[in-house]
């Protein structure tokens, strides 16, 4: 039996192009102040219909109000994360929006997740000012589908973690050195499509709305 791998590689090796040095690729970054990074992030995300609100310790209440305005009945979250703890502690008791801790593997909660979950909450690694993107590294505590399946997605972002560009982000955080998670993500706005007449429609397969709660404990208050 022929070995496709060997055959392909040997055909590719039959030509001997001169070895080329790795092309120069200086890190694209901007020296924006923290305020400017936040305002640019906000502007770029707003352009693709992502909502940004500035919050402090009362963020669960802001989230609650946002969900209630949209008629959500429940919120799925990652209970083992710091955010999850804060959420549990500050969530208004006895109110209409039920907290659903996400603990089970997808195999056992598939139906619940796809059919009966109105909103999902996640944290993020940081954000990118230039494009208004959130950087998510799903983890054991905070699985990937939490940011994808529920029709409403809320993210808590620490303003300190906004960098100017994606290039700066992955180099500064040494993604190669520390190793990538199974599924690193950039998320820029809610799900959308322009497949019909190039007209934008939101909420195709992923979330219809995206809310970013920006915590700015770092003396940023008053800015942006």
């Amino acid at each position: 039996m022929s070995d496709p791998r060997a055959a392909i590689l040997s055909r590719l090796r039959a030509r001997h192009p001169a070895a080329r040095p790795l092309p120069e690729n200086p890190v694209r970054r901007f020296d924006w102040s923290p305020q400017e990074r936040l305002s640019r992030f906000r502007e770029a995300l707003a352009a693709v219909r992502g909502e940004v609100v500035l919050v402090d310790e009362d963020w669960p209440l802001r989230l609650f109000a946002w969900l209630r305005a949209r008629g959500a009945n429940n919120l799925r979250y990652a209970p083992a994360t710091e955010l999850g703890q804060e959420l549990e502690q500050a969530w208004p008791d006895g109110e209409a929006i039920r907290l659903m801790p996400h603990r089970e593997p997808v195999e056992t909660c598939r139906q619940e997740l796809f059919a009966n979950t109105d909103a999902g909450l996640t944290g993020c690694l940081g954000a990118i000012a230039e494009t208004g993107s959130l950087v998510l590294w799903p983890s054991v505590q905070e699985p990937r589908l939490l940011s994808l399946v529920p029709p409403l997605h809320a993210v808590v972002l620490d303003a300190r973690n906004i960098r100017s560009t994606f290039h700066e982000f992955l180099v500064a955080e040494d993604w190669v050195g520390q190793g990538l998670p199974t599924n690193a993500l950039l998320i820029t706005g809610p799900s959308k499509s322009a497949d019909i007449e190039q007209t934008l429609a939101y909420g195709v397969h992923g979330p219809k709305e995206l809310l970013v709660l920006v915590r700015q404990d770092l003396g940023l208050a008053g800015g942006a």
Partner: protein
């Protein structure tokens, strides 16, 4: 049986509705790209970087593929190699069978189109469901994409509304785009919640980290690669890049050239199946590396630049021929200028050499290409090789487009120009007998008047002015 290219061209030109739909989209995409690159200098720097990064990857392709394989395997991704579309299809089928999957949900993948995967699987009793909104619309009517990034642009909302009404009578009729999108979302959710297997393409495969990068706006790509138990990624062998930090410049070139977006909604970087303790993600990730003629293209120093392509579609958006014909007239998976260059190389000049003629050589494609593929030069090369072989070239079907009549004409031309007396005699005869010249000269005179011969040739005039053999 697909009709001949000229027949398809006249059919396409005769369909006003499709022409209107295509033109509207093309004008929109051209404008969006233009606005996305406001700084010409930055664009020039970026395109140069894109070209060098892709060129570097191709110059080191076999080594990088091995590095990619090593790092993918270290991450737990199973790597398979396929020389042909048939081998690739069989690999996908075997994986699906092993998991007992009779249905696979698909994210948009041009390579899977190239493999003819959907029809193959169907014949094997496995249903492949397209989940990208545009592809979903097409699959309902068993149509093929007419554009590589906006597959259903030849259809307008009314046609789509009618198609939905015919297939899903349980939903109320709507021509509203949000409403149509919502119907598709609800139908697809059923599949996403249930499917065992998902399939996707790959935009960039990063050798250094063993990462598969996919870009999309809808979220269906993420669902196909995250929700099922097994994810199969099909990927042309040319899609590899050396380093992770090369992603940012390529991503921005890709999305801005394609749709004028600074970035897509989702950039999905997959570096392995579900790890111990994780609550979701596929249990298995498979990468199928497909050659299907690419290694032959790679062997040619000039034509290998074809493989730099990052599939943004800007060349077709800016092509005066594509924007009038639309993708279906080409009859191939990849239409437009890149199709005119790639398809004759993949399938042979004897079968598809005429696609290289579907260009006015205006040069727009070469000017907008984000990785600076010299498309007009490659089109000319393939035109020439279609009628005359070239030493050392391995393009299939060289010389196959040379017709006996052409051969005769060029032989006569050579004689006539080699013997001055013969030349003088014939041009003299031609001008004397010019009244015999037919008024209609095939397609040329359909929209033009036939050229008239002058009563006296330039040589005669020159001689009467006293020039002698100068």
């Amino acid at each position: 049986m697909i009709p001949e290219f000229p027949v398809r061209v006249s059919q396409a030109l005769g369909n006003e509705r499709v022409r209107r739909n295509i033109r509207r989209t093309m004008d929109g995409l051209v404008l969006k790209r233009h606005k996305a690159f406001p700084d010409e200098h930055e664009l020039a720097v970026l395109r140069r970087r894109g070209k060098l990064i892709r060129g570097h990857a191709l110059a080191h392709l076999p080594d990088l593929l091995e590095e990619l394989e090593r790092n993918c395997q270290r991450n737990g991704i199973q790597v398979h190699w396929a020389e042909t579309a048939a081998e690739g299809n069989a690999l996908v089928r075997d994986i699906l069978r092993r998991h007992g999957a009779d249905l696979v949900i698909k994210g948009k993948s041009m390579v899977s189109e190239e493999m003819g995967l959907n029809h193959y699987l169907e014949a094997q009793g496995i249903r492949a469901v397209e989940t990208d909104l545009g592809e979903f619309i097409l699959q309902l009517g068993d149509e093929r994409p007419s554009h590589i990034i906006a597959p259903a642009i030849h259809k307008d909302r009314v046609e789509i509304a009618q198609r939905f009404a015919a297939h899903f009578p349980e939903y109320p009729y709507t021509e509203d785009i949000e409403g149509l999108t919502a119907i598709a979302r609800r139908i697809m959710r059923e599949h996403f919640g249930r499917a065992i297997a998902g399939l996707s393409g790959v935009n960039f495969a990063v050798a250094e980290t063993g990462t598969l990068c996919l870009v999309e706006n809808e979220g269906n790509g993420r669902l196909c690669t995250t929700a099922p138990q097994v994810h199969i990624a099909v990927c042309g062998i040319e899609k590899v890049i050396a380093r992770l930090d090369q992603l940012p410049p390529l991503l921005t070139l890709l999305t801005r050239s394609a749709t004028g977006q600074p970035i897509t909604t989702y950039v999905n970087m997959i570096s392995g199946p579900r790890r111990e303790g994780e609550l979701d993600g596929p249990r298995e990730v498979h990468l199928v590396l497909l050659d299907n003629g690419r290694s032959r293209i790679h062997g040619d120093p000039q034509l290998s630049s074809t493989l730099r392509c990052i599939r943004c579609g800007a060349c077709m958006n800016h092509c005066p021929v594509y924007s009038r014909l639309g993708g279906h007239a080409y009859g191939t998976v990849y239409p437009g200028p890149i199709g005119g260059v790639l398809e004759p190389q993949l399938q042979g000049l004897d079968r598809l050499g005429e696609l290289a003629d579907a260009s006015s050589l205006c040069g727009a494609c070469g000017e907008v290409c984000p990785v600076r593929i010299p498309l007009p030069a490659l089109l000319r090369r393939l035109r020439a090789e279609g009628v005359r072989g070239r030493q050392g070239s391995r393009v299939v079907g060289q010389g196959s487009r040379r017709k006996p009549l052409h051969r005769l004409i060029w032989t006569l031309w050579r004689w006539v120009n080699a013997y001055p007396s013969l030349y003088r005699g014939l041009t003299g005869l031609g001008t004397r007998l010019r009244w015999l010249m037919p008024k209609h000269l095939g397609p040329w005179t359909r929209t033009r008047s036939a050229p008239a011969l002058a009563p006296r040739s330039l040589h005669e005039l020159a001689r009467s002015e006293g020039f002698r053999g100068e």
